[in-house]
Structure formats: C-alpha cells, structure tokens
C-alpha cells in the first residue's frame, strides 16, 4: 500500500535530541537536562580517558624528564591545572548523577509508588525522592567544583 501514499516525512530529530535539552520544551522535566549532561560528560570522559592514559604513560614510555618538564616547570595556571579542573567538574557531575541513576535504574527505587491519578496529576516518579536527589546532585556538584577550583588554582 505504499504507492499513492505520497512522500513520508521521517521527522526524527536524531542524535540532536540527546545532546540538546531544548529540542522539545517539556515543562517540569529537569531529568531530561540531567540525562543530556550525563551523556555529554560520559562521552567527554570516554574521550578524555584515552588522552589521559596516553599522557600519564609518559614516565614509562618516554621518561621522567618529559614528565617533570610538563608538570613542574611552569608556575601558575597551565594546561595541566585547567585540564584537571574541567575533568574534575565533569567527573563530579557524572559520578554524582550516576549514583542517582544507579538507584533509579539498577535498584529500581526512589521513583515513588504507583498511585491513582488525583490533582495535580503529576506522575509519581516526578515528585519522588529521585527529584530531590537530582537537586542535591546539582548543588553538590556546584560545591565540589568550586572547591576543586580553589584547590587547583590555589598554588
């Protein structure tokens, strides 16, 4: 029955939807932002880990001179401090939110109990403890990242 039905528009936003939380403007859905950030941070870390293993292999591959030159030579803010600062920020978020996701996805808890619809007609999982955890994650993330900045840029 395909002939005569005209051209069909595929209409899938594709990968964009999972890196851009504003592909849709879903109201009351911070979980979506959390998902996008988790995905972006995961992706970045998976890329970074390759570079990281390569770089930290310097002493063994090339020798300690190269390592010392890289690390200790320059004073103040360098690529290394910046790198660590951003890596830590990414990791803090991914790790904290990962704990929340583990609770929700792996242990199946923290998503409320099924209930019968009553006003204000909000799905139980959207007001369950995962939501509070999510806000906690954001707050802790901010605190930890600021702390990291303080430590890294201190000297």
């Amino acid at each position: 029955m395909s002939e005569g039905t005209g051209k069909v528009l595929p209409n899938r936003p594709g990968w964009l939807a999972s890196v851009n939380p504003w592909v849709l403007r879903v109201v009351n859905n911070p979980e979506r932002l959390a998902f996008v950030l988790h995905r972006l941070t995961g992706l970045l870390m998976a890329l970074i880990i390759m570079a990281h293993i390569f770089v930290t292999g310097t002493p063994a591959r090339v020798g300690w001179e190269a390592w010392a030159e890289e690390i200790a030579k320059a004073q103040g803010i360098t690529v290394v401090t910046l790198y660590f600062f951003f890596f830590a920020g990414i990791a803090w978020y991914h790790g904290l939110n990962g704990i929340r996701l583990l609770l929700v996805e792996f242990f199946g808890t923290c998503i409320g109990k099924p209930e019968k619809p009553k006003p204000p007609y909000l799905a139980p999982s959207l007001k369950a403890c995962q939501r509070k955890l999510l806000y906690t994650v954001y707050i802790l993330w901010a605190i930890l990242w600021i702390l990291t900045g303080y430590i890294v840029f201190m000297g």
Binding site: M1, E3, G4, T5, G6, K116, P117, K118, P119, Y121
Partner: protein
C-alpha cells in the same frame, strides 16, 4: 479517477468499537486461523468512540447476593417503557455475566471489592447495584482489553482510517461494501461472505452531545441508503448530566455514588412528587432529563455566560475527596479541565445532552439484519449501538449499552463465522454498482464552489437541537423536517469540497459524513412526527401520554425516493411481563 480495486476477506467488520472488536475476538478465539477477518474503522481501531463510556456495564454477577436475571430483565423492560422485545432482553441478561469475567481474564482491571472480587455500583433504573466498573473509565478499559486481546491472534487485517461509504444489498442479500482508504485516497470494494456492521451511533446530529466528533450516524445512513429498515430512530436518549459548556459526559456513576441534582434554589428537585420521589436522581435518564429541562425552562436553573446554555448543578461535594478520587477520578479531571470546577469543592454545571440512539438497523434478537418483511438479508449482521434488536426499546438504562455491545458482538461473531464457513464463494456486486459508487464519492470533488459541508452540518445541528430535543411537538418536528429537506437539497446541489488532494482528505470525509447525518436525521424526525404518543425518550408536548392501544409497536423507517420515507411497523415481543404504568 482511479478504478475500484477489490479486497477480499471471509468476514468484514465495519466499526471497531466494543461491539466490532468483541465480534472479531469471538471469531478468532473460536475459529482461529480458519477465517480471515478484515476490520474497518474510520479512525485508528482502538480510538473508537466506545472509549468514552464511563460509568459501567450491567451484569448479574452475584445471584447469591440478591440479584437475579429476572430482576435485570424486568428493570431493562420497565426502563424501556415496555417497547423492548422481551425475548431479546432475556438472551442479553443471560449472556452478560460471562462477558464480564472473560474481559477480566483478558486483563481488564475492574475495580475490586475488599474480598478480591469484582465490584459493582448502583445505576439509574437498576434495582440492584449491578453496574460493573473500572473507576469511571469502563468503556476505555473495555476497548483497551479487547484491542489488546485481538493482537494475540493472526490472520486478520486492520484497516485503520478507512471510511466506509456504502454497503451493497442486492436481491435481498449482502454483496460487499465500499470504503475509501484515507491514506491513499482510493476507493476499494470489499468482497466478503459475511459482514458485521458495528458502526456506532449518531450523536453528532446535535451540537450539545456526549459523542465523539466522529460519531456521525454512518451506519444508519448506509443501511438506510441500502434499503434496510431503520427501527425506532425517534428514540434518542438525553443524558441528564452533560458538562456545560462542552457536552462532555459526567457519568451516571456520579449519581450512582450518591450525587444530587440541585436547582438555583438549592433544592433536590428530583425528589418532587411529579419527578421520581422514590428513586430520585437514580430514576431512568428520560425522566431525570425531563425534570431537569423543566427546571431550566421554568427559570429555576442557571445560565452559562459564554455559551448561553441553561443548566442545573450536580453536587458531589458531600462524597468527600477520597471517594471521588477512588470512584470518579475522570469526572474530577474532566470537570477541572473543561469547566474549571473541582467537584470536591463545588457543584458541577450540567444539563441534558444527546447521548444514545436506541433505534437502529432492524435486526432480530440474534442481530441478523432483516428487511421489512422480516426476511434475513443473507450475510449481513449488525451489532452494538447501530443495531436495534430491541433490548432498549424506548429508553436505554445506563450501563446496558456497553453490555449489549458485548453480547451482540459475541452473537454476531459466532453467526457470521458459521455462515462464512458454509459459503464457498463470496458474492459480488454488479459492475454498474461500482460505477455508481465512484460517481457518488468522486462527484463531490468536481464542484468548484458552493456551500461547505460544515455550514450545512451546523444548520442541521441547530435545527435538531431546537426542535428534536428533550421535549418535542408536532409543529416543531414539521419545521425540522422541512429544514432537513432543504438542507438535503442543498447538500446534493451545492455542497462543495475545497480540498482536492488524495491523502487524508478529511474535507471530503466531512462532506460524506454530512450526507450521512442528513439521512439519519430524516429517518429520526420522520419517525418522531409519525409517533403520536409519548414513550420513553420520545416526549411530545402535544401527546403527553403513552398510548399502548395504538403505539405498542416498533416503527420501521424505509427510504422512499430522494427525500422521503415510508413507515411500517413491527410487533413488540411481549413474552414475560405485561406493560404497566411506569413510575419510579
């Protein structure tokens, strides 16, 4: 224009509401892959109007707790104002309990009693709480369960969004039907050994109705055009509690759970002597609607500012939040969303609303479609609201309709299957018929200007709401009839479809539906004008009394010429109880 292609099935089912789906399941679960079934629906098959049914489905589940078949039968017959065929009623009440439990097995989440068994609630006109319910989404859950159950089986084809235009009856037998595939805009001929028409009611004859936008009397109109008699179309039920201003239904379950109707003085007017002093709000719908309408007409109602509709109020506030959330969650949601009223805190604005067509395609008690002499039109069955076997007579009791959909689906399923198994070859329509059908459908696209269908439809609905509502009289119905005839002429000569494209041409569909509405309206108003008595839902101010002497009989309306009808009669089967005066 494209040529008519043919699609063949053993059995074709038109309409996939509760009735159509139940029939399909009966065929599949009893006959498996032996028969191949085509299911046609003008919308996605599980979106049929039956999903809107809210309150419950009647069945005698607990004979050990006081209920009995005889009591259910008596309630139904008394509710029908003794126009029901009593043998049909008996068959119906006996088949019901098994239906409820089968649905339960297939997954329906019926509401439960603390002991784990299925719960039931009181309903208007029933003298025992026997409306089986799943919160207040009964019809929705029934549709969902039936649809899901059907997915278990193979060898059936779904035709979602295929609009059936006409059924073919030639030489007193069924010879196939025509449908437009909305998706590619072609006309197809369906050839089958048997067909079940389950195309639902005609609620959209009115502006203020509980019905979905897609319920446009197509089934009646198709039968009418094919020369099949329409039985008792004058009996149109007005439900007492349509939400103002949209017409969305507030289920009778709301009164079943203990809701009151109050006028602008705060009185429970249903308890007055002339209304229903014993049953009060739980009297049958025709009685409650009339009492309500009187309050409104005599100035004891309220008036909605935006729509100008008069109304009374349905008070649920005394039920308490918990009970409302438990038993009537959808009522609460609907009232808040569509009227901005929370029934926990405030009474809901309601008024009588067009709700059900008791009449329909003339069938016997086994839902075989009959011609005016009582001969079966071979191969053709009708089920659900579109059929009139007459279980409901002049007035349907709440929760008996989804029930009838189930039993009629089951009966027609078995009969159609057995019939199809015994047929070697599916009959075909004559080639001229193809040409006529093409002309009828595509002819609409030819006109380049004129009156859009929507305008005709609007005028028709206004006329029906004005002259063929809860109260009727001879002059009013005559006026309505002349308006309908004028609109029919207009539709034939001037109706114009702007959209010329093939794919999803809903403009064309609206035009075809308008033609169907005009047919259904013609049959209903003619029959109403003809019946000079008041019975059940048909209440005439000029003949306010029931007249068993002359009118204890069914009307059969047949088409005659372009705009006229011929009326004959059909006896009522009175096998158990004598008609008596109906008091509640």
């Amino acid at each position: 224009m494209p040529a008519v292609e043919t699609i063949e099935h053993d059995i074709v089912i038109v309409g996939t509401g509760i009735a159509g789906l139940r029939a399909a399941i009966e065929i599949k679960r009893k006959y498996g892959d032996k028969l191949d079934v085509g299911l046609l629906s003008k919308i996605h098959i599980m979106r049929s109007h039956s999903v809107s049914a809210e309150g419950g489905t009647a069945a005698v589940l607990y004979p050990e707790e006081g209920d009995s078949f005889a009591l259910h039968a008596w309630d139904t017959i008394k509710g029908s104002d003794f126009l029901a065929d009593q043998d049909a009623v008996w068959l119906f009440v006996k088949l019901m309990p098994e239906e409820i439990r089968l649905l339960e097995h297939w997954g329906l989440p019926w509401s439960r009693r603390p002991d784990g068994r299925i719960a039931q609630r009181p309903f208007g006109g029933h003298s025992h709480p026997r409306a089986t319910f799943a919160a207040d989404k009964t019809g929705f859950f029934e549709m969902q369960t039936l649809y899901n159950k059907l997915l278990e089986y193979d060898n059936w084809e779904r035709y979602d969004e295929w609009f059936v235009t006409n059924i073919v009856v030639e030489d007193g037998a069924y010879k196939g039907l025509y449908a437009i595939n909305m998706r590619d805009g072609k006309l197809y001929y369906f050839k089958s050994k048997a067909a079940i028409i389950a195309a639902g009611g005609g609620g959209r004859l009115y502006n203020f109705t509980t019905y979905a936008h897609t319920v446009t009397g197509d089934g009646y109109a198709m039968a009418f055009r094919a020369g099949i008699p329409i039985k008792d179309p004058e009996f149109i039920q007005f439900h007492p509690t349509g939400l103002v201003p949209s017409g969305i239904l507030i289920t009778e379950g709301a009164r079943g759970e203990g809701g009151y109707l109050i006028n602008n003085k705060g009185e429970r007017f249903m308890l007055r002597k002339e209304c229903a002093p014993t049953k009060g709000e739980l009297a049958p719908r025709d009685i409650v609607s009339r009492c309500e309408m009187r309050e409104i007409l005599e100035g004891r109602g309220f008036v909605d500012e935006v729509s100008g509709l008069g109304y009374v109020k349905l008070d649920l506030t005394h039920l308490g939040e918990e009970k409302i959330n438990e038993r009537l969650p959808a009522v609460r949601e609907i009232a808040i969303r569509y009227a901005g009223v929370d029934p926990v805190e405030e009474p809901i604005p309601v008024r009588p609303v067009a709700h059900y067509t008791m009449g329909g395609i003339h069938t016997d008690i086994y839902y075989r479609v009959l011609d005016e002499t009582g001969r079966w039109i071979r191969g053709l069955f009708a089920a659900g609201e579109v059929a009139a076997s007459s279980v409901h007579g002049a007035n349907r009791l709440g929760s008996n309709s989804t029930a009838e959909c189930l039993t009629s689906g089951r009966i027609t399923g078995i009969l159609a299957a057995e019939y199809a198994l015994r047929q070697r070859e599916a009959p075909t329509a004559s080639p001229e018929r193809h040409a006529r059908e093409e002309e009828w459908v595509w002819g609409l696209l030819k006109r380049e200007s004129g009156t859009p269908a929507y305008e005709i439809r609007r005028k028709l609905r206004n006329a029906m709401g004005e002259y063929f509502y809860v109260f009727r009289d001879g002059d009013g119905m005559k006026t309505a009839l002349s308006i309908i005839k004028e609109l029919r002429r207009k539709a034939r000569e001037e109706m114009y479809v702007e959209d010329k494209s093939k794919i999803y041409n809903t403009d064309l569909q609206a035009a075809l539906e308008t033609l169907n509405l005009l047919d259904a309206a013609l049959a209903a108003v003619s029959a109403g004008l003809n019946r000079t008595e008041s019975r059940g839902a048909h209440y005439r101010l000029d003949y306010p009394k029931r007249d068993d002497e002359n009118w204890l009989k069914h009307t059969l309306v047949l088409r005659s010429g372009e705009d006229d009808v011929r009326i004959t009669y059909w006896p009522v089967a009175i096998t158990t109880w004598k008609p008596v005066e109906r008091k509640y």
